[in-house]
């Protein structure tokens, strides 16, 4: 049931992560995990004039963790997966910096892929994170992409 039978790891933090190490941790002691799907999100420069200086990520402590737990547990009931790890950075990040790392380990490749897409789709629109971009000329809060909300309808 729920958290007992799945290896679930959620971390919200300033510091960067090491993907090798996170993968090692996810699969350690579970030789049934034959496939690990991961999604790595990186700060990219989407500003009109390609002059992003940095990005700041704010979140709602407490609710973030609860929301992510809920999303991961839902994924666990829908797909045959053995382990999930979500790391999301907050604070000041620069172009090329890592933002988010999702790892989903499963015996079955397709299960891990679908669960990963599901978690990313809901993380994007249901986990309380907000991004602010500072370019050479201005600071603006990133607006929601209306497509993100639409994507939830397919699940």
């Amino acid at each position: 049931m729920g958290l007992d039978s799945i290896n679930l790891h959620i971390s919200i933090r300033n510091q960067n992560f090491d993907i090798n190490q996170e993968i090692k941790q996810l699969s350690s002691g579970n030789l049934n995990i034959g496939g690990i799907v991961s999604f790595l999100g990186i700060v990219r420069d989407l500003s009109k004039n390609n002059n992003l200086k940095f990005m700041e990520i704010e979140h709602y402590p407490g609710m973030t963790e609860t929301a992510l737990m809920k999303i991961c547990n839902e994924a666990k009931t829908r797909w045959e997966i053995q382990a999930i790890s979500v790391i999301h950075r907050i604070g000041k990040l620069y172009p090329g910096d890592n933002i988010v790392l999702l790892l989903v380990g499963s015996v079955h490749r397709t299960q891990a892929f679908e669960a990963s897409e599901f978690v990313m789709d809901f993380l994007k629109s249901r986990a309380p994170f907000w991004k602010k971009e500072t370019t050479l000329t201005e600071a603006t809060w990133i607006e929601e992409n209306p497509l993100d909300e639409q994507k939830l309808l397919r699940w």
Binding site: T66, H88, E144
Partner: protein, 82 residues
């Protein structure tokens, strides 16, 4: 109760949280009351399609949801994580 503000709502209102007492029983009632308080609230809540609400860290879609007994109400724009 505690009211929290995030992202540009926080910047607009000028605080990240405040203690607040109200006789209002719904989110929409609370927002009406805040909007009548000061221009910074009026500005923050000008376009409600841009405002999302969580009661006790749980997202709620309906602005008529009851806030009676709530400890923590949060206002913020649509999320943009990932």
């Amino acid at each position: 109760m505690k009211i929290l503000y995030f992202s540009w709502l926080r910047e607009c209102i000028g605080v990240s949280f405040e203690e607040y007492s109200t006789d209002q029983t719904t989110i929409s009632g609370l927002i009406r009351e805040l909007v009548n308080r000061e221009p910074r609230y009026r500005k923050a809540f000008k376009n409600l399609t841009m405002v999302k609400v969580a009661i006790d860290q749980e997202l709620v879609a309906d602005m008529e949801t009851s806030i009676v007994g709530a400890h923590e109400i949060a206002f913020f724009p649509p999320m943009t994580g990932g």
